[in-house]
Point group: C2
Chain length 208, copies 2
């Protein structure tokens, strides 16, 4: 049965398309466009999931949300076992950490920055504290990437797919110069033929 | 080998102690206290993990961060297989979602609220929008809890352990009256002898 991806342009769901292309899975995209003025997700997404979020996938009549949960599920159920660290491997604890870090830790200061950014001058001191936290996170990612540009082990895993979005955010926020590994990681992601196919099908994706 | 939990009072690490008590695992607690004025984690946590966060556990010389990653790891490596949904079960996709939802989705508006709350009047319009989002999340949790008070399946799982903190936050923010299942879920968590032992060992925990 074909998988449906409820895909919002310029969003965290790009990496779901990327993984599906890597797996050679059959899928179709249901497209949603951000509001041109507010940049918010359109209300139609609220019909797909009570929280109106993207990505959500539909597989066999079941809806699944949360980016990392979707990646894990797709690898397990759609032929991506080699994109997961083996449970008894040395790499496994790190794999689990990165699968949770991307959304559970890194995205918090990123989203706080967006919210505080709309407030104006009064938020400056808090923004500064948040910026320091964000910088610490970016440095943590840079320091954690291996020389061959993987977050876990020596080959591509779902953790790299999940972490592609945080890395892209870091680059878009100007950290590329101080974080050469992160910059090269993002280039390596975008050089994957599967990523390029996903970009073509997904539509507008930030500066790329 | 004994597990060490780097535990911050009044924090998300309480549930790690709870699970360890449920598993009957051997562990010791390294205690950290929030600053009485700023409520921030103490700088000593920065010596444990580059991001200065809690919880972090240490097992066999290896540090592991991210609450849900820790819970998953402990269940797999320390005798908690029956706290996980089987990979081929009907429940499994939902289990994955909740394991990622707690930190990856719910905590975002909670933390935005804390940051915006320090800004004053200028943040009121954004705070209002954030509050609406938070309310939607709380209702989503209430609607998702089963009548026998579990997030997945018909028995306790690591997803309930992970979700205990979001549920407690919802209650502390006054949603208990409109969310009777969430209120009863939190009561059921706190009635577990293992939770009570973890509370005794962990120290101060909000209003409980």
């Amino acid at each position: 049965m074909t998988i449906t991806v409820h895909h919002l342009n310029n969003s965290r769901s790009q990496r779901i398309l990327w993984l599906l292309e890597e797996l050679g899975a059959e899928y179709e995209i249901s497209h949603y466009q951000r509001d041109a003025t507010t940049n918010l997700a359109p209300p139609e997404l609220g019909k797909v999931h009570p929280l109106g979020k993207s990505p959500v996938i539909e597989d066999g009549g079941r809806m699944i949300g949360e980016s990392a949960a979707i990646l894990q599920y797709l690898c397990e159920r759609h032929g991506g076992a080699d994109w997961l660290s083996a449970h008894d491997s040395e790499d496994y604890p790190g794999f689990l950490e990165w699968m949770h870090y991307g959304e559970g830790s890194f995205m918090t200061p990123v989203l706080i920055k967006i919210y505080l950014g709309t407030v104006g001058e009064a938020a400056a001191p808090v923004l500064e504290r948040n910026e320091a936290s964000l910088k610490k996170h970016v440095q943590f990612m840079e320091d954690s990437l291996s020389d061959d540009l993987h977050f876990v082990g020596s080959d591509w895993t779902a953790a790299d797919v999940l972490m592609s979005f945080p890395a892209e955010v870091a680059i878009m926020q100007g950290h590329g110069e101080n974080c050469p590994k992160l910059a090269r990681f993002v280039e390596a992601v975008h050089a994957r033929p599967a990523w390029q196919r996903s970009r073509e099908k997904g539509g507008a994706y930030f500066i790329w």
